[in-house]
């Protein structure tokens, strides 16, 4: 299908882009277009104006800033998947990016776009949650930081305001090792997650000192699995302890049935992938 007609602007600077968003309340940001364009073509979403940030210089960098890594608004999935810096400090995000879409999507789609789109079955939001990411939103009025845990509000809804651009995602360095795993709709890691989980764990003196675990695909939004984290911290990190913690995967989550699984199946998968993500993170640490 064709989208409804819309105005198109391609600002040369971030300030111009922010001004365009401030001037036109019906405007939407376009980066890679891998989520926005299909929505527009299906007419599920019809913005009056599309603000294409693709020509703005300086947004396509993965930067090492000492205690954290910043991923700019135009960093593509494949850059994330292949970054040695991220592989060392945010492995779960690299894995999630490497299993997002197909080669074409990974070459065009952006990591920040995946966050802003907030699909219930996307890979990278779960990794961002487990890794304790901070979202940096900027508008003509200023800049604010939003914790990943506060960023994903509902299906296809983030905490971003209409006049804001997600200019970068900040990931803390250190603090443990991480992993992401999922079952894709077309099996294996192929396609959106039927269910997926990301985990970041730290060990000290033979026990788990810190843990963050997040789910995707099962509920109305990517979310932290608080029950699992509570059970895991202080445990010995054995296979039994991990399996027991994983049993609490869907506590506080409203699991939704879809074409790819019943509530029972998706609840089961949530436990399986929470377990696999935690074991993967622990294996990566040793």
């Amino acid at each position: 299908m064709f989208p409804r007609s819309f105005e198109y602007v391609a600002p040369a600077s971030l300030d111009e882009a922010l001004a365009a968003l401030a001037d036109q309340p019906g405007a939407k940001v376009l980066a890679g277009g891998m989520s926005l364009i299909p929505l527009m073509k299906l007419r599920l979403f019809s913005p009056e104006t599309v603000v294409d940030i693709g020509r703005i210089p300086g947004l396509d960098q993965i930067e090492d800033r000492g205690d954290h890594i910043a991923i700019g608004a135009l960093v593509r999935h494949h850059q994330v998947a292949e970054s040695a810096l991220l592989a060392e400090h945010a492995r779960a995000l690299c894995q999630a990016a490497s299993w997002t879409g197909d080669v074409q999507v990974r070459n065009r789609g952006t990591m920040c776009g995946s966050m802003a789109h907030a699909d219930v079955a996307a890979d990278q939001p779960a990794a961002a949650l487990a890794l304790g990411a901070t979202m940096v939103a900027r508008s003509a009025g200023g800049t604010r930081e939003i914790a990943a845990g506060d960023f994903f509000v509902d299906a296809l809804t983030s905490a971003l305001q209409p006049d804001e651009i997600l200019v970068e995602v900040k990931l803390p360095k250190g603090g443990g090792s991480s992993a992401y795993d999922k079952l894709g709709r077309r099996g294996g890691h192929s396609d959106y997650a039927v269910a997926g989980a990301a985990a970041k764990v730290a060990r000290s003196n033979g026990s788990i000192s810190d843990a963050a675990v997040a789910l995707t695909g099962v509920g109305t939004k990517p979310s932290l699995a608080a029950g699992v984290m509570e059970a895991l911290v202080g445990s010995d990190g054995s296979a039994e302890a991990v399996a027991a913690a994983a049993e609490r995967a869907t506590e506080g989550v409203t699991v939704l049935e879809d074409l790819y699984g019943s509530v029972e199946y998706k609840s089961h998968l949530a436990k399986v992938f929470v377990k696999r993500a935690i074991l993967g993170a622990l294996a990566a640490a040793s």
Partner: protein, 432 residues
């Protein structure tokens, strides 16, 4: 599967037949390959009249299956499966074979029933081709078949180039313009090579026959001694007595250079209506791994040995088989038209109506046997749909083999992970 497509009718027939044969093999505790061999029509029984009145053309089913068994090393695979099971990994091996019917003919069979009958035109199933040697020596083939990516531009050019002894790139194949094309029925039912291909060969042969008369006149030799190779026409046994293809064609357009009784021009049209349909066949094998915790199916290996008679272009034939197998994998594992209670289609776009992509399938291990048909002078059968006809039941058989130790005895397509997982849960429930 949503509706009839590639293979229309034969994938369904092959699927149920092969599942039934596998069920019988399990019941009899027989090797599935041996059971099939016992029931095969033997090579010496062809032409083989079937119970429904058709007469099957040719086949060496056992030889084709044996080639697959040789490539697969089933005892080795069974050992690997056993070792994997000891490590808690569930591998499955599925082997099935198929025979299909394509290149439908003779036309009389369809009197009043098919093609243009609804338009008040004569019902027909024959195909046609015009072959024209142009004054500059290039060759134009105009086909009545309607390719949509099957590669007729390549294969028809090969047939004409081989017959006329000219280089392949001198031949241009045109199609699809109804002002220009001779009457044809179209491309469907794996029929183009078996029905349209011989029309190209026949028209090329007629052009060659006339060119031989002209060359013989130029060389002062006998027409039946003319040979066509490497862009030259020469006398059999004395290749130094030759004339270039271009010169023969040039003479064809100069009446004063032609022998008495030969009219200028070098082109002809041919129609072809086969005496019988063709029956391609093959044997396929898949090795899968099922993750019992998630129901995920991973296709580790896929082997196919197909026999479509004489092959014109091996790369195109392999491409057709590979594409067909991928489509069959889609049927076996993903494709499903799901409606909600109000009758709305929930799988209305390719985002939800899942199809396999290159990353979802392994590299195929392929070979072929060649058993010509006498339904057409080229010995060609047809290959456009074989991959789809042979593959869905192969995947399902392999998944069932992997699930057998968990007590699952039957499962239906599509094998989405949720269904495989549910089958495992149900079998566990049955035990408890």
């Amino acid at each position: 599967v949503t509706d009839a497509y590639r293979g229309a009718g034969r994938p369904e027939a092959a699927y149920y037949l092969e599942r039934a044969v596998d069920a019988l093999a399990a019941k009899l505790e027989m090797d599935p390959a041996e059971l099939r061999k016992l029931n095969y029509v033997k090579p010496e029984q062809f032409p083989f009249p079937t119970a429904v009145g058709m007469v099957m053309d040719s086949g060496q089913y056992e030889a084709t299956l044996d080639r697959l068994l040789e490539m697969a090393d089933i005892p080795g695979l069974r050992e690997e499966q056993e070792r994997a099971l000891q490590q808690g990994r569930h591998l499955g091996i599925g082997l099935t074979t198929y025979v299909e019917n394509c290149g439908l003919a003779p036309s009389a069979m369809f009197e009043g029933g098919f093609s243009w009958a609804g338009l008040g035109l004569p019902s027909a199933f024959n195909e046609s081709a015009v072959v024209r040697a142009n004054p500059d020596g290039s060759v134009t083939v105009v086909t009545g078949t309607g390719p949509t990516g099957q590669g007729h531009e390549t294969t028809w050019a090969q047939i004409a180039a081989d017959t006329l002894g000219v280089s392949f790139d001198k031949v241009e194949v045109r199609h699809g313009d109804t002002n220009d094309s001779p009457m044809g029925i179209g491309t469907f039912g794996s029929r183009s090579a078996a029905v349209g291909g011989p029309a190209v060969a026949r028209a090329s042969g007629r052009v060659q026959e006339k060119a031989a008369k002209i060359a013989a006149h130029l060389l002062e030799a006998a027409a039946e001694d003319m040979r066509f190779e490497d862009g030259k026409v020469f006398v059999a046994g004395s290749p130094e007595q030759s004339v270039s293809w271009e010169d023969v064609v040039a003479a064809a357009y100069q009446q004063y250079r032609l022998p008495e009784g030969v009219e200028a021009g070098l082109e002809d049209i041919a129609f072809f209506d086969p005496t019988n349909a063709t029956w391609p066949y093959g044997a396929h094998l898949a090795v899968v791994e099922v993750d019992p915790e998630t129901g995920n199916v991973d296709i580790l290996r896929y082997l196919a040995v197909d026999d479509c008679g004489v092959v014109i272009n091996p790369m195109i034939v392999e491409g057709q088989i590979q594409g067909g197998i991928v489509q069959g994998i889609g049927q076996a594992m993903f494709e499903e038209a799901v409606y909600d209670e109000q009758g709305s289609l929930l799988t209305a776009s390719l985002a939800d109506y899942l199809l396999p992509t290159a990353s979802d399938v392994p590299s195929f291990e392929m070979d072929r046997t060649v058993t010509p048909t006498d339904s057409n002078p080229l010995g060609i059968k047809g290959i456009g749909e074989a991959g789809t006809i042979g593959s869905a039941q192969t995947i399902v058989a392999a998944v069932l083999d992997a699930l057998r130790p968990m007590g699952v005895t039957t499962i239906d397509m599509p094998l989405r992970p949720k269904k495989v997982w549910q089958a495992i849960q149900d079998a566990k429930g049955g035990e408890g």
